[in-house]
Symmetry: C2
Subunit: 134 residues, 2 copies
Amino acid sequence: MLNSSILLKEYDLKVTPQRVAIVEELYKHGHMNIDDLYKNLLKKFPSISLATIYKNINAMVEKIFLNEVKLPDTKSVYELIKEEHSHLVCSSCGKVEDIIIDTSVLQNSMSNITNFRIENTEVIFSGICEDCLK
Amino acid sequence: MLNSSILLKEYDLKVTPQRVAIVEELYKHGHMNIDDLYKNLLKKFPSISLATIYKNINAMVEKIFLNEVKLPDTKSVYELIKEEHSHLVCSSCGKVEDIIIDTSVLQNSMSNITNFRIENTEVIFSGICEDCLK
DNA sequence: CTGGGTGCAAAGTATTTGCATGAAC
DNA sequence: GTTCATGCAAATACTTTGCACCCAG
């Protein structure tokens, strides 16, 4: 479970119903793009504005408890930050899943061939999910 | 070396000076975002329009000889399609480098834990490049 | 010659900003 | 009471479209 209010407070954001709802939507769905978030929030807050969503998403990304995931061929989605993980995208239904794999192997083979100081490794697998394969 | 005209013809695109220049810019720089491409092309074609660039980039992406690379925290860049590779981005100067690593290890560890049929694996490393480390 | 590309201007879409009001603390 | 979030409208940024003219084949 997740206590959105505490999370918001921890990151010095005032607790408003809209913010709580954003966090809870993301927690529930795992990943959402701006439009879907907006559509869902409209149900609870018929007069919520896109501006509010953008402002809050940006604030949460800055406070580093939200993460934008840029996906190939489709809109970015946002997720609550959790342990490091990679992503699986279904190119048929658009579903995004988290997956935990060990990327240190990659980083190691990297350090042999480059002098970059690697700080982050992003891996996105695209393919067809189990449901769509049927 | 690269023969842009032949490349364009192969992909059923009429050979125009603007298109040749786009391909050559990308070949020369490896990766470019729309704005930089536009700025550079303005030197050769003072009246080239952004619309032309967008139309051509889109056409080339559709013909599958250009690839859009969506990067974290910065604008997408485009590259000519070549052998499969991963990317390194310097978060300080923005430089993008190609790097060839074996991602099959990843894909294998993947197949044990998911039923996705993986078709593509995108890896982006972010960090600080050698020059910026100095 | 003909089809398609170019550049311009306008339209569309996405995102941000300014401001008055109201809610959180 | 003060600070800051909200929602609206306007502004900005980004991308696409329609069209008249022109060039590649």
